[in-house]
Symmetry: C2
Amino acid sequence: MAAKPILYSSWSSGCSSRVRTALALKKIDYEYQPVNLLNKQKEQEFHGNNPAEKVPILKINGLTLTESMAIIEYLDEIYPDPPLLPKEPELKARARAIAFHIASNIQPLQNKPIYLMLNEKEPGYGDFWCQHFISKGFKALEELLQMHSGDFCVGNQISIADICLPSIVYNAIEKYHVDMTPYPIITRISNKLAELPEFQVAHPNNQPDAPKN
Amino acid sequence: MAAKPILYSSWSSGCSSRVRTALALKKIDYEYQPVNLLNKQKEQEFHGNNPAEKVPILKINGLTLTESMAIIEYLDEIYPDPPLLPKEPELKARARAIAFHIASNIQPLQNKPIYLMLNEKEPGYGDFWCQHFISKGFKALEELLQMHSGDFCVGNQISIADICLPSIVYNAIEKYHVDMTPYPIITRISNKLAELPEFQVAHPNNQPDAPKN
Protein backbone atom coordinates (compact mmCIF):
# COMPACT_ATOMS: atom_id res chain seq x y z
CA MET A 1 0.00 0.00 0.00
CA ALA A 2 1.27 3.43 -0.91
CA ALA A 3 2.38 5.74 1.91
CA LYS A 4 -0.04 8.44 2.95
CA PRO A 5 0.59 11.65 0.98
CA ILE A 6 2.21 14.51 2.90
CA LEU A 7 1.25 18.10 2.21
CA TYR A 8 3.67 20.84 3.25
CA SER A 9 1.35 23.77 3.70
CA SER A 10 0.87 27.05 5.45
CA TRP A 11 -2.60 27.88 6.76
CA SER A 12 -2.60 31.34 5.17
CA SER A 13 -1.00 30.42 1.84
CA GLY A 14 -3.46 30.77 -1.01
CA CYS A 15 -1.49 28.33 -3.16
CA SER A 16 -1.58 25.75 -0.35
CA SER A 17 -5.32 26.15 0.01
CA ARG A 18 -5.78 25.33 -3.69
CA VAL A 19 -4.11 21.96 -3.19
CA ARG A 20 -5.95 21.33 0.08
CA THR A 21 -9.21 21.90 -1.80
CA ALA A 22 -8.22 19.63 -4.69
CA LEU A 23 -7.25 16.84 -2.26
CA ALA A 24 -10.56 17.25 -0.44
CA LEU A 25 -12.55 17.15 -3.68
CA LYS A 26 -10.67 13.98 -4.71
CA LYS A 27 -11.23 12.51 -1.21
CA ILE A 28 -7.49 11.89 -0.78
CA ASP A 29 -6.45 11.54 2.85
CA TYR A 30 -3.09 13.13 3.70
CA GLU A 31 -0.76 14.18 6.49
CA TYR A 32 -0.60 17.91 7.09
CA GLN A 33 2.92 19.29 7.61
CA PRO A 34 2.79 22.97 8.60
CA VAL A 35 5.53 25.28 7.32
CA ASN A 36 6.14 28.77 8.64
CA LEU A 37 7.58 30.64 5.70
CA LEU A 38 8.73 33.56 7.80
CA ASN A 39 10.97 31.20 9.80
CA LYS A 40 14.32 30.92 8.01
CA GLN A 41 15.24 27.69 9.77
CA LYS A 42 12.16 25.98 8.41
CA GLU A 43 12.86 27.39 4.99
CA GLN A 44 16.24 25.69 4.88
CA GLU A 45 14.74 22.43 6.09
CA PHE A 46 12.52 22.14 3.08
CA HIS A 47 14.71 23.85 0.47
CA GLY A 48 15.63 20.46 -1.01
CA ASN A 49 11.95 19.70 -1.56
CA ASN A 50 11.38 22.96 -3.39
CA PRO A 51 14.25 25.25 -4.36
CA ALA A 52 11.71 28.06 -4.74
CA GLU A 53 11.13 27.75 -0.97
CA LYS A 54 7.40 27.97 -1.39
CA VAL A 55 4.48 25.91 -0.26
CA PRO A 56 2.58 23.82 -1.17
CA ILE A 57 4.74 20.76 -1.66
CA LEU A 58 2.97 17.44 -2.04
CA LYS A 59 4.72 14.11 -1.46
CA ILE A 60 2.61 11.51 -3.20
CA ASN A 61 3.24 8.21 -4.97
CA GLY A 62 6.97 8.50 -4.28
CA LEU A 63 7.13 11.93 -5.91
CA THR A 64 7.79 15.38 -4.48
CA LEU A 65 5.60 17.79 -6.41
CA THR A 66 5.66 21.60 -6.39
CA GLU A 67 3.65 24.47 -7.84
CA SER A 68 -0.04 24.31 -6.99
CA MET A 69 -1.30 24.41 -10.56
CA ALA A 70 1.01 21.59 -11.65
CA ILE A 71 0.00 19.54 -8.59
CA ILE A 72 -3.70 20.01 -9.34
CA GLU A 73 -3.23 18.92 -12.97
CA TYR A 74 -1.30 15.84 -11.75
CA LEU A 75 -4.01 14.92 -9.24
CA ASP A 76 -6.65 15.33 -11.91
CA GLU A 77 -4.85 12.96 -14.26
CA ILE A 78 -4.08 10.26 -11.67
CA TYR A 79 -7.36 10.50 -9.73
CA PRO A 80 -9.87 11.48 -12.41
CA ASP A 81 -12.98 11.37 -10.22
CA PRO A 82 -14.42 13.97 -9.74
CA PRO A 83 -12.83 15.84 -12.65
CA LEU A 84 -11.39 19.28 -11.92
CA LEU A 85 -11.56 20.31 -15.57
CA PRO A 86 -14.56 20.28 -17.91
CA LYS A 87 -14.45 17.62 -20.63
CA GLU A 88 -14.90 19.95 -23.63
CA PRO A 89 -11.64 21.59 -24.80
CA GLU A 90 -13.34 25.00 -25.05
CA LEU A 91 -14.61 24.92 -21.47
CA LYS A 92 -11.32 23.46 -20.29
CA ALA A 93 -9.57 26.50 -21.79
CA ARG A 94 -12.08 28.82 -20.06
CA ALA A 95 -11.54 27.15 -16.66
CA ARG A 96 -7.76 27.24 -17.01
CA ALA A 97 -7.83 30.86 -18.23
CA ILE A 98 -9.78 31.96 -15.15
CA ALA A 99 -7.53 29.89 -12.88
CA PHE A 100 -4.37 31.35 -14.45
CA HIS A 101 -5.80 34.85 -14.37
CA ILE A 102 -6.03 34.45 -10.59
CA ALA A 103 -2.78 32.48 -10.23
CA SER A 104 -0.58 34.65 -12.46
CA ASN A 105 -2.21 38.06 -12.77
CA ILE A 106 -3.49 38.58 -9.22
CA GLN A 107 -2.02 36.20 -6.63
CA PRO A 108 1.72 36.92 -7.19
CA LEU A 109 1.20 40.66 -6.81
CA GLN A 110 -0.44 40.52 -3.39
CA ASN A 111 1.34 37.82 -1.44
CA LYS A 112 2.95 38.37 1.93
CA PRO A 113 6.61 38.94 0.92
CA ILE A 114 5.53 41.53 -1.66
CA TYR A 115 3.27 43.23 0.84
CA LEU A 116 5.97 43.37 3.51
CA MET A 117 8.68 44.54 1.10
CA LEU A 118 6.56 47.43 -0.16
CA ASN A 119 5.34 48.45 3.27
CA GLU A 120 8.95 48.52 4.39
CA LYS A 121 9.74 50.78 1.45
CA GLU A 122 7.05 53.18 2.53
CA PRO A 123 4.46 52.51 5.25
CA GLY A 124 1.05 51.96 3.62
CA TYR A 125 2.40 51.44 0.10
CA GLY A 126 2.06 47.65 0.41
CA ASP A 127 -1.61 48.09 1.31
CA PHE A 128 -2.20 50.46 -1.60
CA TRP A 129 -0.35 48.13 -3.98
CA CYS A 130 -2.20 44.95 -2.99
CA GLN A 131 -5.58 46.68 -3.07
CA HIS A 132 -4.77 48.16 -6.49
CA PHE A 133 -3.81 44.86 -8.11
CA ILE A 134 -6.59 42.83 -6.52
CA SER A 135 -9.17 45.40 -7.65
CA LYS A 136 -7.74 45.53 -11.17
CA GLY A 137 -7.70 41.72 -11.34
CA PHE A 138 -11.19 41.39 -9.87
CA LYS A 139 -12.62 43.85 -12.39
CA ALA A 140 -11.45 41.57 -15.21
CA LEU A 141 -12.43 38.44 -13.29
CA GLU A 142 -15.97 39.71 -12.77
CA GLU A 143 -16.30 40.23 -16.53
CA LEU A 144 -14.85 36.79 -17.28
CA LEU A 145 -17.36 35.25 -14.88
CA GLN A 146 -20.17 37.23 -16.47
CA MET A 147 -19.23 35.54 -19.75
CA HIS A 148 -18.65 31.99 -18.52
CA SER A 149 -20.14 31.31 -15.08
CA GLY A 150 -23.20 29.36 -14.08
CA ASP A 151 -23.51 28.14 -10.51
CA PHE A 152 -19.71 28.02 -10.51
CA CYS A 153 -16.92 29.83 -12.38
CA VAL A 154 -17.41 27.91 -15.63
CA GLY A 155 -20.95 26.63 -16.01
CA ASN A 156 -22.39 24.42 -13.31
CA GLN A 157 -19.43 22.16 -12.62
CA ILE A 158 -16.72 22.81 -10.03
CA SER A 159 -13.37 23.24 -11.75
CA ILE A 160 -9.80 24.38 -11.21
CA ALA A 161 -11.11 27.96 -11.53
CA ASP A 162 -13.29 27.54 -8.43
CA ILE A 163 -10.36 25.98 -6.60
CA CYS A 164 -8.38 29.20 -7.16
CA LEU A 165 -11.17 31.60 -6.19
CA PRO A 166 -11.71 31.39 -2.40
CA SER A 167 -8.16 32.17 -1.25
CA ILE A 168 -7.87 35.33 -3.32
CA VAL A 169 -11.28 36.51 -2.11
CA TYR A 170 -10.21 35.69 1.46
CA ASN A 171 -7.09 37.82 1.07
CA ALA A 172 -9.04 40.63 -0.57
CA ILE A 173 -11.51 40.81 2.30
CA GLU A 174 -9.56 39.70 5.38
CA LYS A 175 -6.10 41.03 4.63
CA TYR A 176 -6.59 44.00 2.33
CA HIS A 177 -10.17 45.13 3.07
CA VAL A 178 -11.12 45.44 -0.59
CA ASP A 179 -14.66 46.69 -1.19
CA MET A 180 -16.42 43.74 -2.84
CA THR A 181 -19.55 45.69 -3.89
CA PRO A 182 -18.44 45.96 -7.55
CA TYR A 183 -18.03 42.17 -7.79
CA PRO A 184 -21.42 40.52 -7.26
CA ILE A 185 -20.64 37.38 -9.28
CA ILE A 186 -17.31 36.78 -7.53
CA THR A 187 -19.15 37.22 -4.24
CA ARG A 188 -22.05 34.94 -5.19
CA ILE A 189 -19.76 32.08 -6.31
CA SER A 190 -17.43 32.48 -3.30
CA ASN A 191 -20.39 32.30 -0.95
CA LYS A 192 -21.69 29.18 -2.68
CA LEU A 193 -18.26 27.50 -2.50
CA ALA A 194 -17.99 28.41 1.18
CA GLU A 195 -21.01 26.20 1.88
CA LEU A 196 -19.35 23.08 0.49
CA PRO A 197 -17.56 20.77 2.98
CA GLU A 198 -14.55 20.28 0.65
CA PHE A 199 -13.95 24.01 0.61
CA GLN A 200 -14.62 24.31 4.34
CA VAL A 201 -11.93 21.80 5.33
CA ALA A 202 -9.45 23.63 3.09
CA HIS A 203 -10.24 27.05 4.56
CA PRO A 204 -7.27 28.86 6.18
CA ASN A 205 -8.96 29.14 9.57
CA ASN A 206 -9.56 25.38 9.73
CA GLN A 207 -5.88 24.38 9.43
CA PRO A 208 -3.91 23.02 12.40
CA ASP A 209 -1.36 25.86 12.11
CA ALA A 210 -3.97 28.64 12.01
CA PRO A 211 -3.72 31.04 14.96
CA LYS A 212 -6.23 30.25 17.68
CA ASN A 213 -8.65 33.04 18.48
CA MET B 1 -12.13 25.18 -44.08
CA ALA B 2 -11.57 26.91 -40.76
CA ALA B 3 -10.54 30.56 -40.81
CA LYS B 4 -6.88 31.30 -40.22
CA PRO B 5 -6.18 31.79 -36.52
CA ILE B 6 -5.47 35.36 -35.42
CA LEU B 7 -2.95 36.09 -32.68
CA TYR B 8 -3.18 39.42 -30.85
CA SER B 9 0.36 39.89 -29.71
CA SER B 10 2.95 42.43 -28.70
CA TRP B 11 6.52 41.87 -29.88
CA SER B 12 7.95 42.42 -26.40
CA SER B 13 5.33 40.51 -24.41
CA GLY B 14 6.79 37.39 -22.86
CA CYS B 15 3.37 35.76 -22.63
CA SER B 16 2.77 36.45 -26.33
CA SER B 17 6.09 34.89 -27.23
CA ARG B 18 5.10 31.67 -25.46
CA VAL B 19 2.07 31.31 -27.70
CA ARG B 20 4.05 32.30 -30.83
CA THR B 21 6.50 29.52 -29.97
CA ALA B 22 3.76 26.95 -29.37
CA LEU B 23 2.10 27.84 -32.69
CA ALA B 24 5.45 27.53 -34.47
CA LEU B 25 6.19 24.15 -32.88
CA LYS B 26 2.73 22.93 -33.92
CA LYS B 27 3.25 24.38 -37.41
CA ILE B 28 0.02 26.38 -37.19
CA ASP B 29 -0.09 29.29 -39.61
CA TYR B 30 -1.72 32.44 -38.22
CA GLU B 31 -2.34 36.12 -38.79
CA TYR B 32 -0.33 38.42 -36.54
CA GLN B 33 -2.29 41.31 -35.05
CA PRO B 34 0.01 43.69 -33.17
CA VAL B 35 -1.28 45.37 -30.00
CA ASN B 36 0.41 48.30 -28.31
CA LEU B 37 -0.49 47.90 -24.66
CA LEU B 38 0.65 51.37 -23.73
CA ASN B 39 -1.90 52.82 -26.14
CA LYS B 40 -5.19 53.24 -24.27
CA GLN B 41 -7.23 53.44 -27.47
CA LYS B 42 -6.01 50.02 -28.55
CA GLU B 43 -6.66 48.67 -25.09
CA GLN B 44 -10.33 49.58 -25.33
CA GLU B 45 -10.57 48.10 -28.81
CA PHE B 46 -9.66 44.66 -27.60
CA HIS B 47 -11.20 44.81 -24.09
CA GLY B 48 -14.12 42.66 -25.26
CA ASN B 49 -11.70 39.95 -26.34
CA ASN B 50 -9.96 39.91 -22.97
CA PRO B 51 -11.28 41.86 -20.00
CA ALA B 52 -7.81 41.58 -18.43
CA GLU B 53 -6.59 43.75 -21.32
CA LYS B 54 -3.56 41.57 -21.83
CA VAL B 55 -2.01 39.82 -24.77
CA PRO B 56 -1.82 37.18 -26.08
CA ILE B 57 -5.33 36.53 -27.35
CA LEU B 58 -5.78 33.72 -29.85
CA LYS B 59 -8.81 33.48 -32.12
CA ILE B 60 -8.94 29.90 -33.31
CA ASN B 61 -11.65 27.42 -34.27
CA GLY B 62 -14.34 30.03 -33.59
CA LEU B 63 -13.05 30.61 -30.05
CA THR B 64 -11.39 33.60 -28.44
CA LEU B 65 -8.82 32.25 -26.01
CA THR B 66 -6.83 34.12 -23.37
CA GLU B 67 -4.03 33.40 -20.87
CA SER B 68 -0.92 31.95 -22.51
CA MET B 69 -0.73 28.81 -20.35
CA ALA B 70 -4.39 27.95 -21.02
CA ILE B 71 -3.89 28.58 -24.74
CA ILE B 72 -0.85 26.30 -24.85
CA GLU B 73 -2.73 23.51 -23.06
CA TYR B 74 -5.61 23.91 -25.54
CA LEU B 75 -3.29 23.78 -28.55
CA ASP B 76 -1.60 20.69 -27.14
CA GLU B 77 -4.92 18.90 -26.76
CA ILE B 78 -6.33 19.81 -30.19
CA TYR B 79 -3.06 19.54 -32.14
CA PRO B 80 -1.19 16.79 -30.29
CA ASP B 81 1.81 16.62 -32.62
CA PRO B 82 4.48 17.39 -31.50
CA PRO B 83 3.47 17.13 -27.84
CA LEU B 84 4.32 20.05 -25.57
CA LEU B 85 4.09 17.91 -22.44
CA PRO B 86 5.90 14.65 -21.66
CA LYS B 87 3.70 11.55 -21.67
CA GLU B 88 4.55 10.33 -18.12
CA PRO B 89 2.51 12.02 -15.36
CA GLU B 90 5.64 12.59 -13.26
CA LEU B 91 7.51 14.37 -16.04
CA LYS B 92 4.38 16.25 -17.02
CA ALA B 93 4.21 17.59 -13.44
CA ARG B 94 7.92 18.56 -13.64
CA ALA B 95 7.43 20.42 -16.93
CA ARG B 96 4.35 22.23 -15.68
CA ALA B 97 6.04 23.07 -12.35
CA ILE B 98 8.96 24.73 -14.15
CA ALA B 99 6.63 26.52 -16.55
CA PHE B 100 4.45 27.80 -13.68
CA HIS B 101 7.50 28.77 -11.65
CA ILE B 102 8.41 31.09 -14.52
CA ALA B 103 4.84 32.13 -15.32
CA SER B 104 3.64 32.78 -11.76
CA ASN B 105 6.72 33.34 -9.57
CA ILE B 106 8.91 35.37 -11.92
CA GLN B 107 7.11 36.84 -14.94
CA PRO B 108 4.33 38.77 -13.13
CA LEU B 109 6.85 40.55 -10.89
CA GLN B 110 8.95 42.00 -13.69
CA ASN B 111 6.57 43.02 -16.44
CA LYS B 112 6.40 46.49 -17.91
CA PRO B 113 3.49 48.00 -15.93
CA ILE B 114 5.11 46.86 -12.66
CA TYR B 115 8.48 48.21 -13.72
CA LEU B 116 7.03 51.58 -14.73
CA MET B 117 4.86 51.90 -11.62
CA LEU B 118 7.79 51.28 -9.28
CA ASN B 119 10.19 53.51 -11.19
CA GLU B 120 7.59 56.25 -11.00
CA LYS B 121 7.41 55.71 -7.23
CA GLU B 122 11.15 56.17 -6.98
CA PRO B 123 13.57 56.37 -9.91
CA GLY B 124 15.62 53.15 -10.04
CA TYR B 125 13.37 51.17 -7.70
CA GLY B 126 11.70 49.38 -10.63
CA ASP B 127 15.12 48.27 -11.87
CA PHE B 128 16.14 47.05 -8.41
CA TRP B 129 12.80 45.26 -7.97
CA CYS B 130 12.84 43.45 -11.32
CA GLN B 131 16.47 42.40 -10.91
CA HIS B 132 15.75 41.16 -7.39
CA PHE B 133 12.79 38.97 -8.36
CA ILE B 134 14.36 37.63 -11.53
CA SER B 135 17.53 36.69 -9.64
CA LYS B 136 15.56 35.05 -6.82
CA GLY B 137 13.47 33.14 -9.36
CA PHE B 138 16.48 32.15 -11.46
CA LYS B 139 18.32 30.80 -8.41
CA ALA B 140 15.45 28.37 -7.81
CA LEU B 141 15.05 27.69 -11.53
CA GLU B 142 18.71 26.77 -11.89
CA GLU B 143 18.31 24.21 -9.09
CA LEU B 144 15.12 22.82 -10.62
CA LEU B 145 16.92 22.43 -13.94
CA GLN B 146 19.85 20.75 -12.21
CA MET B 147 17.36 18.17 -10.95
CA HIS B 148 15.31 17.64 -14.10
CA SER B 149 17.01 18.93 -17.25
CA GLY B 150 18.69 17.07 -20.06
CA ASP B 151 19.18 18.80 -23.39
CA PHE B 152 16.03 20.76 -22.52
CA CYS B 153 14.31 21.81 -19.30
CA VAL B 154 12.85 18.38 -18.58
CA GLY B 155 14.94 15.62 -20.12
CA ASN B 156 15.58 15.67 -23.83
CA GLN B 157 12.17 16.65 -25.13
CA ILE B 158 10.98 20.20 -25.71
CA SER B 159 8.07 21.01 -23.41
CA ILE B 160 5.94 23.83 -22.08
CA ALA B 161 8.83 24.62 -19.70
CA ASP B 162 11.14 25.43 -22.63
CA ILE B 163 8.39 27.51 -24.20
CA CYS B 164 8.37 29.71 -21.08
CA LEU B 165 12.15 30.05 -20.76
CA PRO B 166 13.43 32.30 -23.57
CA SER B 167 11.27 35.36 -22.92
CA ILE B 168 12.20 35.59 -19.25
CA VAL B 169 15.89 35.18 -20.11
CA TYR B 170 15.49 37.84 -22.80
CA ASN B 171 14.00 40.26 -20.25
CA ALA B 172 16.67 39.41 -17.68
CA ILE B 173 19.47 40.20 -20.11
CA GLU B 174 18.08 42.84 -22.45
CA LYS B 175 15.80 44.80 -20.16
CA TYR B 176 17.22 44.37 -16.67
CA HIS B 177 20.90 43.51 -17.28
CA VAL B 178 20.90 40.59 -14.85
CA ASP B 179 24.29 38.88 -14.48
CA MET B 180 23.72 35.39 -15.88
CA THR B 181 27.03 33.92 -14.59
CA PRO B 182 25.34 32.08 -11.65
CA TYR B 183 22.93 30.33 -14.04
CA PRO B 184 24.93 28.08 -16.40
CA ILE B 185 22.10 25.59 -17.05
CA ILE B 186 19.53 28.31 -17.78
CA THR B 187 22.09 29.84 -20.15
CA ARG B 188 22.95 26.54 -21.85
CA ILE B 189 19.32 25.60 -22.50
CA SER B 190 18.40 29.14 -23.65
CA ASN B 191 21.29 29.12 -26.10
CA LYS B 192 20.22 25.75 -27.44
CA LEU B 193 16.61 26.88 -27.87
CA ALA B 194 17.80 30.03 -29.63
CA GLU B 195 19.23 27.85 -32.41
CA LEU B 196 15.88 26.28 -33.24
CA PRO B 197 13.83 27.86 -36.06
CA GLU B 198 10.56 27.60 -34.09
CA PHE B 199 12.05 29.69 -31.31
CA GLN B 200 13.69 32.07 -33.76
CA VAL B 201 10.42 32.99 -35.51
CA ALA B 202 8.83 33.62 -32.11
CA HIS B 203 11.68 35.88 -30.91
CA PRO B 204 10.65 39.45 -29.98
CA ASN B 205 13.04 41.04 -32.49
CA ASN B 206 11.54 39.05 -35.35
CA GLN B 207 7.96 40.31 -34.95
CA PRO B 208 6.39 42.80 -37.38
CA ASP B 209 5.78 45.30 -34.56
CA ALA B 210 9.35 45.18 -33.22
CA PRO B 211 11.15 48.52 -33.46
CA LYS B 212 13.43 48.72 -36.49
CA ASN B 213 17.08 49.29 -35.71
